[in-house]
């Protein structure tokens, strides 16, 4: 990107002085770099003021007690210690979120993959099906859908009135601590459209000739799926997995609306981010919230790291491109 471009770019050839007159510093390069920094100026400002600065500030705050009114008071590791030894609600929120991620992400991806395979090549009406299945992904994060969910799974909601037709008296799904989290998992699975679209694009990258060759060799459809489709799709599965784990660990709106901001019943839908919000912005324990944010960062970085480590054993990077 730096030196070899001299030879290739006609613009460079035109604008640059002959080789013997070049200075060490290459003034046109400096001009390009200066322009680049001007183009990047808003991003740099945002990076330092809105991202890196606050990350460091939250690291500092995580070792303090701070309520916005008085100055932060240094407490060392106390916040972290409290989280893991005294704060049962914290551990509950961690447990609830873990169950949510571990159950809903694989289910969501399984649906996405199954539907992507069903919709793959040669099916007429693909764009229509794709749009229908994709739509919930766009709406799923909205308050309106969470409100709807709360009502569908309410005591006298849609699900129970359908069950009533068959003479079954269903529980109040969102008010029963045993089933409340299940409804949120279902909501997440419902938004399988986004990874499905990515799978569909991935399937299209697999050369048709592979299947022709396999068919000539007598491989059946299942064998073709196992030996061609699945291995060549593993990078996409991996991408979706990393993305969805990160995203679902930070889910907030669903838990907030369905439980009306409490995380109830009996903390059974208390997502990590909801608890962080309650601590930081309801009881204004900002130091504690900052510490929770850092634990979240470590967890997400850890999960992503584990995903990347594990990927060695199952992701296949062939020369598909």
């Amino acid at each position: 990107m730096t030196t070899d471009s001299v030879a290739v770019e006609p613009r460079a050839a035109q604008l640059r002085p002959p080789a013997h007159r070049r200075e060490k510093k290459q003034p046109w390069k400096r001009r390009e770099a200066r322009t680049a920094y001007v183009f990047l100026a808003p991003w740099f400002l945002g990076l330092f003021a809105i991202t890196i600065g606050p990350i460091l500030a939250s690291l500092y705050l995580s070792f303090t007690e701070y309520n916005l009114l008085e100055d932060p008071k240094w407490v060392g590791w106390a916040n972290y210690a409290e989280m893991f030894t005294e704060d049962d609600r914290f551990l509950t929120s961690l447990k609830v979120t873990t169950i949510y991620v571990v159950v809903s992400v694989p289910m969501q991806l399984a649906f996405a993959l199954a539907l992507a395979l069903a919709l793959d090549r040669g099916l007429c009406g693909l764009p229509i099906y794709r749009s229908i299945y994709y739509l919930p992904s766009l709406l799923g994060g909205s308050v309106a859908i969470s409100i709807l969910w709360r009502k569908i799974f309410g005591t006298d909601g849609l699900v129970n009135s359908v069950l009533a037709i068959f003479g079954i008296q269903g529980p109040g799904w969102v008010t029963d601590p045993d089933t409340a989290l299940g409804t949120l998992i279902l909501l997440h699975v419902w938004t399988f459209g986004a990874p499905m679209v990515i799978f569909l694009a991935g399937l299209r990258q697999i050369p048709q000739s592979y299947y022709e060759a396999a068919a000539v060799d007598g491989a059946g459809r299942f064998r073709q799926f196992r030996s061609i489709t699945l291995p060549l799709l593993t990078p996409i599965i991996f991408f979706n997995l990393v993305l969805e784990v990160i995203k679902s660990f930070q889910s907030f709106t669903q838990s907030f609306i369905v439980s009306n901001g409490t995380g109830g019943p009996v903390d059974s839908t208390l997502f990590y981010t909801l608890y962080l919000y309650l601590k930081g912005f309801k009881s204004f324990e900002m130091g504690y919230a900052a510490a929770m944010a850092w634990v979240l960062l470590v967890i997400i970085a850890g999960l992503t790291g584990v995903n990347f480590l594990m990927s060695k054993y199952w992701v296949f990077y062939g020369d598909t491109k």
């Binding site: 808003p42 009135s161 986004a194 059946g220 907030f252 609306i257 979240l296």
Partner: protein
């Protein structure tokens, strides 16, 4: 699901047997689509039913149609719902403009210009996509509170003018890289500098990526509950998501009809943008997904 959809892929399927499995597959796909959309359709139909019928009728076709829920819901909160729609529209429009400007500027620099530490900054940019928002939110809130920006739109809009939605930078970098460099070079030979090349060559060719960015920004901002709920607490500047949540508080479990009606109103713009721009949405998803 594994019906032979393509003669090449399966074993030589008997032509006579092919239509039937195909039909079955279509029926299954349609049935599944209906199950998926049923909650949405039910909400639409319920919003036109009289209150007392909503929970007695799980079916879609209302036996009695009324607009009462809409007229009631529109004025149920302190301000009319149009007021909240306008607040949301202002924030959303500014966010779209901000993301288009700030992210395309940064993307051009990353995709076409050379500068010291480019690889490092690019990696930092990618990393910031993955960064959980919650790690920065506490200090950001404190900072914006010091600026006395709470209950204004600035905490929601200013970060977007500073290209903090790095996902879109990445999306545009990917797109610009597919444009032939000869175009830039031709422009340079014609005497265009970097800015002219950017405005006259890159931007016009980037329209699909800009459309994807615009539509996604619209939908995400319109739906965004976390930040708007955090920064807008005064009942005079609520946006649609926060206003909808007020319904839960103020009406408890009683007035579901008006709440459904306003939920439908709130989803309307998203649905409209989805219909108009699904090509760009799907292409955008696909290209970033495939790196």
């Amino acid at each position: 699901m594994a019906t032979p959809s393509n003669a090449v892929r399966g074993k030589a399927a008997f032509p006579l047997f092919r239509p039937a499995p195909r039909l079955v597959k279509h029926l299954l796909l349609i049935a599944f689509g209906l199950v998926m959309l049923y909650p949405l359709l039910w909400m639409v139909s319920s919003s036109f039913k009289p209150e007392e019928l909503i929970f007695r009728e799980p079916g879609l076709w209302p036996s009695q149609v009324t607009l009462d829920n809409y007229t009631e819901g529109w004025v149920a909160l302190k301000h009319s719902f149009g007021y909240y729609l306008w607040n949301s529209a202002v924030i959303t429009a500014l966010s779209v403009v901000a993301n288009l400007v700030a992210c395309s500027l940064a993307a051009y620099a990353f995709a076409r210009l050379d500068f010291p530490l480019k690889k490092v900054w690019f990696a930092v940019m990618l990393g910031s996509i993955m960064l959980p928002h919650h790690v920065t939110v506490v200090p950001q809130y404190i900072m914006f509170a010091k600026f006395e920006w709470i209950n204004t739109i600035w905490p929601l809009v200013v970060p977007k003018f500073l290209a903090t939605d790095a996902f879109f930078i990445f999306l545009m970098v990917q797109f610009i890289r597919t444009l032939p460099r000869e175009l830039d070079e031709a422009a340079a030979i014609d005497g265009a500098g970097y800015w002219k090349t950017f405005f006259r060559v890159i931007i016009p060719l980037c329209m699909p990526a800009l459309a994807t960015t615009g539509i996604f920004t619209f939908i995400w901002t319109w739906n965004d509950f976390f930040s708007q709920n955090l920064y807008l607490t005064n009942s005079d500047n609520l946006t649609v998501p926060v206003a909808l949540r007020q319904f839960l508080d103020s009406s408890g479990e009683s007035s579901w009809g008006p709440m459904f009606a306003m939920s439908i109103v709130s989803l309307g713009p998203i649905f409209g943008f989805f219909l108009a721009g699904q090509k760009y949405l799907i292409r955008g998803m696909a290209t970033t997904g495939l790196k």
